[in-house]
């Protein structure tokens, strides 16, 4: 058996800090199944009050951009400052986040 066959599948862990906040990537754990992954995520990433909700996702389910994508994906945004919202004035009475 190769080391890969002996080791458990990898899961990505996302934690939510508080209600309404997005789930953010916290790290990854090895686990045999989804419930196992959830428990391992709880023990590794949620034992210091980090969150109120956990997601675990099989790492193989994630499609990621590659370093070669960097040019065509991200460079075109460099010179398009008008896409940022700072040119708008925020009306009085609107809560600033």
């Amino acid at each position: 058996m190769s080391a890969d066959e002996r080791s458990w599948p990898l899961w990505e862990v996302f934690t939510q800090a508080k209600d309404g906040a997005p789930h953010e990537h916290a790290g990854s754990v090895h686990a045999t199944d989804a419930e196992h992954a959830l428990q391992n995520a709880r023990d590794v990433y949620a034992r210091r009050n980090e969150g109120i909700s956990l997601w675990v996702v099989p790492s193989t389910a994630i499609t990621a951009s590659t370093p070669e994508d960097m040019g065509p994906f991200f460079d075109p945004a460099n010179d398009k400052a008008y896409r940022h919202p700072q040119f708008y004035t925020v009306p009085r009475g609107v809560k600033v986040f």
Binding site: W8, V29, H30, A31, T32, E35, H36, Q39, N40, R42, D43, V44, R47
Partner: protein
């Protein structure tokens, strides 16, 4: 007025968690995988934390100036009141997990009952501990199924663990005679009533895990009266050595 019966009852509750917590902590740095190492260490800390609260209260009830550290580090095996199940060596991962499960189910039943204690300190400790113990059962229960219904080797080891530990389960449900007044006044709970729900819950998981409880004619006993296995003395020697070598040391 010191309440000897309540002091004894608190020692039984606290010593179970302290001894099992210490046994679980022996996995720290030795877990089969990183995630499980952290999980077991978390649970060890939960148990030691529960024991701290219980022994602290025991010391107050006793009124002899002993705090939780004095009770943990300066009593000998004869004075410990934990069930024998808790003091057995940690064994392999199968033994540790099966024990964590058997004791966890019992502990949840006990905390649920004690959450309604007429003693507000006991009720407060129970309410906090209940959440922790529920997680211990969830964690260990999943593992029992995974090991029992896993490979030939994991099944063999899990079944061996059940066979080894089962004769020590009966002591958990032996209600001490000196607790009758406390039970009557709703301070503590009669542990003998937990046996039926415990058996049902444990059997359900064992069945899913393709494991079987052995037929046992006689249950081991003795821990509640201080008659321990040879293992507790060795464990306490290691657990107490620093506190006894440097009494009163602070860090």
């Amino acid at each position: 007025m010191p309440n000897r019966a309540l002091f004894s009852a608190l020692l039984r509750l606290g010593d179970d968690r302290l001894v099992l917590g210490h046994r679980t902590s022996e996995w720290c740095g030795h877990g089969p995988v990183l995630e499980e190492d952290i999980a077991l260490t978390n649970m060890a800390l939960d148990l030691v934390g529960q024991a701290t609260l219980l022994l602290q209260y025991a010391g107050e009830v006793e009124g002899a100036g002993r705090d939780q550290d004095a009770l943990a580090y300066f009593r000998d095996a004869l004075e410990y009141r934990n069930a024998l199940l808790c003091e057995l060596p940690k064994g392999d991962f199968g033994v540790t997990i099966v024990r964590q499960f058997l004791y966890g189910v019992y502990s949840v039943l006990q905390w649920e009952a004690l959450s309604a204690s007429t003693d507000t300190t006991v009720a407060g400790i129970a309410a906090k501990a209940l959440k922790e113990s529920k997680y211990h059962v969830r964690h260990a229960g999943e593992w029992v199924i995974r090991l029992g219904d896993g490979t030939d080797e994991s099944h063999r080891r899990a079944q061996a663990a059940v066979d080894l530990l089962w004769p020590y389960s009966g002591e958990l449900f032996m209600q001490p005679a000196d607790e009758a007044a406390l039970v009557a006044s709703g301070v503590t709970a009669d542990v003998s009533v937990f046996e039926a729900p415990w058996t049902a819950q444990v059997q359900a998981v064992l069945t899913r895990a393709t494991l079987a409880a052995p037929d046992v004619a006689w249950m081991q006993r003795g821990g509640r009266s201080g008659a321990h296995t040879e293992h507790l003395g060795h464990m306490l020697a290691e657990m107490q050595i620093v506190a006894r070598s440097h009494p009163g040391a602070k860090w």
